[in-house]
Symmetry: C2
């Protein structure tokens, strides 16, 4: 049995904490807001049902980061993308080189950012890992009660440095079992996030429905031509991956991998993949389809592409239009090559940093 720390008390954080506590590990949950733990205290633990069943209380629920991570074997970051920069800045001064920290899920550059924080703090980095998706398909049904639909298999994970990915997997087995496989590198994992591809075009291209908070199902907004826009945006992402000497999964391949959808028109595939889930479209410009998918998706893609001299006109177009629709500057708020310390890097420099960390 080991010590595992979960940063974040949402959906995924509660699932991991509950599961690990059920298995008998020493579990510490960290949240900046102590109030977030109240439902867990009220229920006497985290209740899981579905693929995993039982109620268990973590060993500690704390807002003290040092206390949370001290001597932990594994630190899992299960927090929204916008929290990653501040979490990394807080973790770098306190993590020790023999510890393992896992972004689950990550967004492109979160591992590099943490690696850079170690350098800025003049500390030896710990082992960093990133997976593109969470191990669990889960949904909060009531406070502190989570439905676990599945524990996924073959989740790609990459270490920084990427040469240590197998070591990461080996160190995770005692906690999570054999569910991870090594990815090519953290670029491949980070670029595999196709949320912005599916979320942004239908939302922007049906903006009145967002502003009117109609909450139609997202898949119902995808027309044949909007399907083409999704595909064209995806091709820009794949071109960026190629320019960075890595490969990642296309959106249509993801639909096949995740839902077994591989036939029909773009609209038919979207309906097959998402029709039953009926996720509502965003109901305001504060929805994560804008506030997360743009600054931590489209913006970092565009920013890296600019540095490589690669044109991403659709990506840039959706950012520019979303900036004015949302009344903000997502370049200012978001992750950029500059924010990752990569501003003057060549392709080789950038690839090296993603594979080996900032040195």
């Amino acid at each position: 049995m080991g010590i595992i720390t979960i940063i974040g008390a949402g959906n995924v954080g509660q699932t991991i904490a509950g599961h690990m506590a059920l298995l008998g590990h020493t579990v510490r949950m960290f949240s900046r807001w102590n109030d977030e733990f109240q439902p867990i205290r009220d229920r006497g633990g985290i209740e899981l049902f579905g693929e995993i069943n039982g109620t268990a209380m973590p060993d500690s629920l704390t807002s003290d980061l040092v206390e949370a991570v001290e001597n932990a074997d594994v630190v899992v970051i299960a927090a929204p993308a916008f929290a990653h920069p501040s979490i990394s800045a807080s973790l770098a001064p306190v993590l020790e080189p023999d510890q393992l920290v896992v972004f689950q899920p990550t967004v492109l550059g979160s591992g590099v950012e943490l690696s850079r924080q170690f350098l800025l703090n003049d500390r030896e980095p710990c082992l960093i890992a990133e997976s593109g998706t969470s191990l669990y398909t889960c949904r909060l049904k009531e406070p502190a009660k989570v439905y676990v639909g599945a524990v996924k298999d073959s989740i790609q994970i990459s270490a920084i440095p990427s040469s240590r990915s197998q070591e990461v997997i080996d160190r995770l087995v005692p906690f999570f079992g054999e569910h991870y496989i090594p990815a090519a590198d953290s670029l491949s994992v980070g670029l595999s996030n196709s949320n912005p591809i599916y979320h942004v075009p239908p939302a922007v291209l049906n903006f009145k429905t967002v502003e009117d908070a109609e909450r139609l199902p997202q898949h119902s907004l995808v027309t044949p031509r909007i399907g083409e826009a999704i595909d064209a945006l995806d091709k820009e992402r794949l071109a960026l991956a190629a320019a960075l000497h890595t490969e990642t999964t296309s959106f249509w391949q993801f639909l096949d991998d995740a839902y077994g959808v591989n036939e029909g028109s773009f609209v038919e595939r979207v309906i097959q993949g998402y029709g039953r889930q009926s996720f509502p479209e965003p109901d305001s410009v504060k929805h994560r389809y804008f506030t997360e998918d743009i600054p931590f998706g489209l913006v970092i893609w565009s920013s890296l592409a600019k540095q490589l001299g690669l044109a991403m006109p659709l990506t840039d177009g959706f950012i520019a239009i979303s900036n004015v629709l949302c009344g903000t500057d997502f370049y200012q708020d978001g992750r950029t090559a500059d924010a990752l310390g990569l501003k003057d890097g060549s392709v080789d420099d950038i690839v090296d940093v993603f594979r080996n960390g900032v040195r």
Copy 2:
């Protein structure tokens, strides 16, 4: 009485031809498609009603351009923007230096393009003029029967060379009366076209309604945030005008000038200006809101801006997204600095060409 030739047999072309024939001028109408004249032959002339009343038959209805323009005092081009390049290429070899040709309405660069065609054909240019809007508010109610809502006053017109604008006005008075005033230059006139500002954002940002051919009124698609997008796009156009050392009317000023609308939120102003007209939104990607406003509006703005090093991210964004939504390349189809022979020009070169023609 003089000789006037109308190129184009649409709405505006029929109104001008009918009015000029009623006044007793010698009127020749040109269309590439003889079939377009059949309704006029069937009715025994063009019938106007409303502000102008009566039926008159032009002296000739022809598909022979040389015959149409020979010895004409004034040649009026009343054709859609996409026809301007081929019309100019056909006219340059046949117009004589003492003739006057008027684009009514023009789109940015049509005069420069004709001027360039004279040079390419090694011919002395005739006097060229451009107005940003048609003299008549008119609508075809039946074949060859046009409702004339108004004959507008204070229509800005500019000559190429701009020093000859007053001469253009003097030469038009015998035909049209005192309805024109001199504009600063043909850049100011060309940039005054705010159609793309009002047409493109609501159509692109409600694209499902276009693809579904819902034909909702365009003004009903303008939400508060889409109003902000209209305003931001307009500001890019005004910045381009400033960079080209000229001024033009903002979209909101245009609403005031044209409809007396000058108060309230953006949405309220749009409803006041357009609510009663209830223009339907585009019902397909073949609609002129895309096929005219993008290649002959946003594209030439963007193209000139690129050459000046001026960023127009929203303009570029709407072009890139419309390209994929419409399955075309509007940069390829549209008017660019390169197509106007301005590719290597400095700001001063570009301004000089718009003011004095290609020399």
